[in-house]
Amino acid sequence: MAVETLTLGKALNNGLRRALERDPKVLLMGEDIGKLGGVFRITDGLQKDFGDERVIDTPLAESGIVGTAVGLAIRGYRPVCEIQFDGFVYPAFDQIVSQVAKMHYRSRGKVRLPIVIRIPFGGGIGAVEHHSESPEAYFAHTAGLKVVACSNPSDAYTMIQQAIASDDPIVFFEPKRRYWEKGEVDTEAPLSAAHPLHAARVLRPGRDATVLAYGPMVRTALDAATAVADDGRDLEVIDLRTLSPLDLEPVYDSVRRTGRCVIVHEAPSSGGLGAEVAARITEKCFSRLEAPVLRVAGFNTPYPAARMEEEYLPDLDRVLDAVDRTYGW
């Protein structure tokens, strides 16, 4: 065991380093990822150690990043694309949704595109517009893509390596406001022993209500559970981790026990992951529910100016308010 305390950002950096070491076909591509190390320094030092042929500063055009990654993948490479911010992924939308997602299907399995598209997502950093969005539902809605979100340093370290090793195209969401939060990472545990990439995980067992979250809201959900523990309310917190395909068996098991479920995400509620999860829970656990499945989400507005984001973003109190409401039915 080599357990280190790392920030989530550094854990990703170490995971990328491992992936580059493990397979010479792995390439990193993105804007400012070379000498600068990325605007969040997630690729810090990697160009220095692996060269500018493998850690590539690209022209400033997102469709070009993903589109050329498709060609490199057809050629046998495993590109890892960094999209600088969530709100900048849309210029690449066609390449992701119509090209990356569909190539394996269209080719009847003859073309694999082992591409990872890393996207720092979510708000809470006081940024200007287009720097705080949560676009995961667009991609989770698209067949042919897999979508995951990490929430803590240990998962960040393993999940990025698992995503790069996978032949499925994966959109990899990173909770940017948690980049600086620290946690323990076992950097010598074999990847094969890690929790599977496309599997949810119960982070805190509880008896009274189930709280589901992913990415940056996992910390919020855990804090909420801690806050009410003293009041005698025992919340179970599950990190969904994989948004496409969803892994809901652990969720169904939990909800069948608790009868109450609250889903938390920063993205607006309408058409969001919470709606999908709620529908499926209702189909599978209808007779065991004590209350409707409730969502705590961003409002159905554009992401607001930074001085309103505290009101926009789900927080501990809004999570607990929703939990309370599940007791009101």
Partner: protein, 377 residues
């Protein structure tokens, strides 16, 4: 030569003035010299080009007929563009990789690929379904211009693999049209290819129309001149001249494979048919324009050349026609016998590693289908 190469949109009933371009074979079949480009074909090779042209036109006509008879859902005809496609297609060396649009049936044929391969897409029994690396020919791409970025990325991979330099180096050709030249992806591909010095030839078939919109709706400068702004050479070739199309493409590909970077070829040609079988070109262009281009037909001029040079006789032309007919008939038979896919195949190959959610959907759908078995008919 810049602006004013053509008269206004839709033509004015007469052919536009001939633009300046590389030409080695005039519409009358005269072999003309060019200071920078030539070809050195044997008699047999000249006859081979004629054979290619006739066959790809015949196969194309057969596919159009199949669509009219309801056997294909749609067809994108190459009629009029045979020389640009055969010339560039034959210029590829075996190790080169092509990224087509959905109209490069002639290039596909010249790559030695069975012309039945893309017809599943147009019949609606699959969405392409071939391995690009096995044929050195990517799947058809429907989204306009998207493939130029894939081609550029692939070319970057060639460089990374150390396969640039020398005569056995690899190169890529990316096909697109005049309409695609307005797409962001095409312009991004130009940027990428330029700054990474990728071994790629951008081959634009300017067939004068993007469905109904004439070239003037896409550009104020001749398309080949766009290359200058991106920092690589561009030239225009008579796209109805198979010899010139071959010569410029071969030279551009060889420059790319030797490490000289990208280039742009504008093959100046004309879409003599409709955009696809769903289109009605009589709504946006007049018959006399078509007539003017008929006089510049890419096949007639090669036949005239073979006649004048006494490289072929009537027996040869008859034999080529017979071969084209045989191949067309064979194609038709195989289209008609294409099996429909089984409904459950719609779940196949969504992901390399599968998905439990899809497995569950497939099982539920199978149960649903099974629930009808034995029900009253």
């Amino acid at each position: 030569m810049a602006k004013g190469d053509r008269t206004k949109a839709g033509g004015g009933g007469t052919a536009p003035p001939e633009p300046e371009f590389v030409q080695l074979l005039t519409p009358d079949g005269e072999r003309v010299a060019h200071p920078d480009y030539t070809v050195d074909f044997t008699d047999e090779e000249y006859r081979g080009l004629y054979r290619d042209l006739v066959i790809v036109r015949k196969l194309d006509a057969e596919a159009t007929a199949l669509q009219r008879q309801g056997e294909l859902g749609i067809w994108a005809s190459l009629l009029g563009q045979e020389a640009a496609q055969v010339g560039s297609g034959r210029a590829l060396r075996e190790q080169d990789m092509a990224f087509p649009t959905y109209r490069e049936h002639g290039v596909l044929y010249c790559r030695g690929i069975d012309p039945i391969m893309p017809l599943g897409l147009f019949r609606g029994v699959n969405q392409g379904g071939w391995d690009p690396n096995a044929f050195k020919f990517n799947m058809y791409t429907i989204v306009i211009g998207a493939q130029t970025l894939h081609a550029t990325g692939y070319a970057m991979g060639i460089t990374k693999d150390g396969r640039v330099g020398g005569g056995d180096g690899e190169a890529v050709i990316a096909y697109f049209g005049d309409g695609a030249s307005s797409q962001g992806d095409v312009n991004e591909a130009f940027v990428w290819a330029s700054v990474f010095n990728a071994p790629i030839v951008f081959f634009c078939q300017n067939n004068q129309y993007a469905i109904s919109e004439p070239i003037e709706r896409q550009t104020r400068v001749p398309l080949y001149q766009r290359a200058a702004g991106f920092g690589f050479p561009g030239l225009r070739v008579d796209g109805n001249d198979v010899l010139a199309s071959y010569a410029v493409t071969r030279a551009a590909l060889d420059a790319a494979r030797q490490g000289q970077g990208p280039s742009l070829i504008e093959a100046y040609t004309y879409r003599m048919g409709a955009h696809t079988t769903s289109d009605d070109p009589t709504r946006y262009r007049i018959a006399s324009e078509l007539d003017a281009w008929q006089a510049k037909d890419p096949i007639k001029r090669v036949r005239a050349f073979l006649d004048k040079q006494q490289l072929a006789d009537e027996a040869f032309f008859a034999e080529v026609d017979a071969q084209a007919q045989r191949e067309a008939t064979h194609l038709r038979e195989r289209v008609l016998s294409m099996p429909n896919p089984h409904p459950e195949q719609l779940f196949d190959n969504v992901y390399p590693h599968g998905s439990p959610l899809l497995d569950a959907e497939r099982a539920e759908f199978a149960d649903y289908l099974a629930s009808f078995e034995g029900s009253a008919n």
